[in-house]
Amino acid sequence: MKKLITALAIFFATSAQAEMTIVNPGSEEGVFRQILTTIGDKVEHDFVQANNPVTAYSYIEGANDPVLTVWSSEWPGDTKLKSPAINKTNLVALMTYETMMCSREFTDLESMSGKDVKIATWGSEPVAKFLTALGNEKDINFIVVPFSGSGSTTKGYIAGDADTVFTITSRQGAIEEDSATSCIAFSAKGDLGFRFVDAIATVGADEKTTEYLRKVVTKLSATTKWNDKFSGSVTYVGGTTNNVSMFDQAVVNFSR
């Protein structure tokens, strides 16, 4: 019954036969949709707007055509979610978002030691886990003031909901509009052991299709438009001998 419903949903959601189905597990307005539609401009496809990874997985599972999707490395660790298998064969590219910690109260991580620190950041479990681990290591009691995304986190920090913020580096400009703020730790410099990683991957596609998509992303990620649009992120295309350790680590993370 479930398969029938899924098949019907895909049928109604699409108007014409195409060689590939793009499934967006993010919102209609989010960055995942932007990534997928930018790639989608270069390949013939049907588009399924799933809105969330739970629904996206059911579409991916029931699809007859090869699927292209974006999957967050935060999701496989969540027991409520099923994730598609992501490995070196079907990984098209990785997009990494470096993180940072900024504060108007503290000048470095050491000065937080032994204190309760209210921190504006995502309310998600992986971020909470990371902060707990960092807190244990540095003797800091982080109290998360939870937000739903980097935009609302930044706005909350500027409004004074917390005097410290943990977010992605693309928000640095906005955060430093507040002259009392200094950014004190960065994942890119090795101060923080957490960055957001999104995988652009195929499911049920042959090697040729995945390779073609890698070429598309290679071309796109070299353009100014792509880099302006996804500023603060770095795109690493798979299937090469570069950044092997990063891909190995990503595959481990996506296999949790």
Binding site: A13, N51, A174, E177, D228
Partner: protein, 430 residues
């Protein structure tokens, strides 16, 4: 440069006129449809287009609201409620004039504050923390519940129904399911357009109006009394602040303004329209501040604009906003004045349609409902799910026709936001 800005402004006005009238469409659908075209132009033109769409759609979404009691979007519910009442009593001209002038005043107020606040805009954001947000939303919830003519329990029940419908689906942060029963469609959540159509428009259309529709008169002069000045200013002020709240923006502003005026002013019907419309337009423009200064889009259509501008190399900051977008500010008054005449003259034209409405009310209502539903189904990615939602909620809406169902819409928007703000407030105050 200036010629291009004017052209994009005209494109924005045309889009805003068309998509403002279609419930559930608005600036998001207008921008999504023009995305490829917008992607090929400069950021300053994109912003000019967007400001024009915002302003125009806020004028035109009130036309169907006043004529048929059908709001173009959730921000026009107060206008639909009070404006349509005036219209059916033969005072449509007053409703239209008040709508047009107060909307214009709201835009002017927002532009003025925008210019004044820009040098110290961070102080503006600093004021607006989670505690203040929670207080404002609490006040709104209390107003919805207690400033109602119908039974408080019924109102509260309808508000909670809206909250529950908004919660159906998968939580985007925790991935917890709520009332999905393992069904893929329910996991998508209940689309807002279906709630608006099924639980607001259907019960409104199903209500039997005992009052005859008065013949629409040509609007040859602005029949706005002095008494609307204060409500307009109140609306502009409240709307400006509410425009900064992610998620609800000017929806909350128009509702709160209309109800405050209704509570504290004598003969409040016309004044409520003035307050709601001023709040609407003021809030639509103030919601641009977080986007332009902090690169934080707070509505769906702003997200599209954000990506379009980023893609075209725009760096969001106070400096860039001042340097590159200052020309837009000077064109806004012309757009506003154009809209003023558009809504005024346009209403005269649409007013003639009202004769047919009077004679063929049932057929016209069915036609409107079918058109709105068809457009909503066509623009939603999973067509069958939108169809099912509209159908089910329309049946439910029909059974609720004896009550004012607008609390459902506010519950849909406010309950989640209230919960999130309250959670943060508890952490902050702990």
């Amino acid at each position: 440069m200036i010629e291009e800005l004017i052209i994009w402004s005209i494109i924005g006005i045309v889009s805003g006129t068309v998509f403002g009238i279609i419930p559930g469409a608005g600036p998001f659908i207008a921008t999504a449809l023009l995305y490829p075209l917008l992607a090929s132009t400069a950021p300053v033109n994109i912003m000019m287009y967007y400001v024009s769409v915002l302003i125009t759609s806020n004028y035109t979404n009130s036309v169907t609201a006043i004529l048929y009691g059908i709001p173009g979007d959730a921000t026009a519910i107060s206008t639909a409620k009070y404006g349509h009442r005036l219209f059916t009593k033969g005072f449509g001209s007053l409703a239209v004039s008040s709508n047009a002038i107060s909307s214009t005043a709201g835009v002017m107020f927002a532009v003025g504050v925008f210019l004044l606040a820009l040098p110290r805009v961070l102080d503006l954001f600093a004021f607006y923390n989670s505690i203040i947000q929670t207080l404002i939303i609490t006040m709104a919830v209390l107003m919805i519940t207690f400033l109602t003519k119908q039974n408080i329990i019924i109102t509260l029940g309808l508000f909670l129904l809206g909250g529950i419908l908004a919660k159906v689906g998968i939580d985007p942060i925790t991935f917890d399911s709520f009332l999905t029963f393992g069904n893929s469609y329910l996991a998508l959540g209940v689309p807002f357009a279906s709630v608006m159509i099924g639980l607001y428009i259907v019960p409104e259309l199903a209500k039997v109006h005992n009052v005859n529709v008065g013949a629409p008169k040509q609007i040859s002069k602005f029949a706005v009394g002095k008494e609307t000045t204060a409500p307009t200013l109140i609306g502009s002020f409240i709307g400006f602040w509410c425009g900064l709240i992610p998620g609800v923006t000017n929806i909350l502003g128009s509702y709160a303004s209309a109800n405050i005026v209704k509570r504290f002013f004598r003969k409040p019907v016309l004044k409520s329209i003035a307050a709601a419309e001023a709040a609407n337009n003021s809030g639509a423009l103030s919601s641009l501040l977080p986007l332009l200064i902090l690169a934080i889009p707070i509505t769906g259509s702003e997200v599209l604009i954000y990506y379009l501008m980023l893609e075209n190399g725009f760096q969001f900051s106070i400096q860039n906003t001042v340097n590159k977008l200052e020309n837009i500010i000077y064109i806004v008054p012309f757009v506003t004045i154009f809209c003023l005449f558009l809504s005024w003259y346009g209403f005269n034209l649409l007013g003639k349609v009202a004769y047919f409405y009077k004679r063929y009310k049932i057929y016209v209502n069915i036609f409107i409902l079918t058109t709105i539903s068809t457009v909503s189904i066509a623009i939603f990615p999973i067509h069958v799910w939108m169809f099912v939602c509209i159908l089910c909620l329309s049946v439910l809406g029909y059974t609720l026709k004896r009550w004012d169902t607008s609390p459902v819409i506010y519950g849909f928007f406010l309950s989640d936001l209230f919960y999130e703000s309250l959670t943060r407030t508890i952490v902050i105050l702990s």
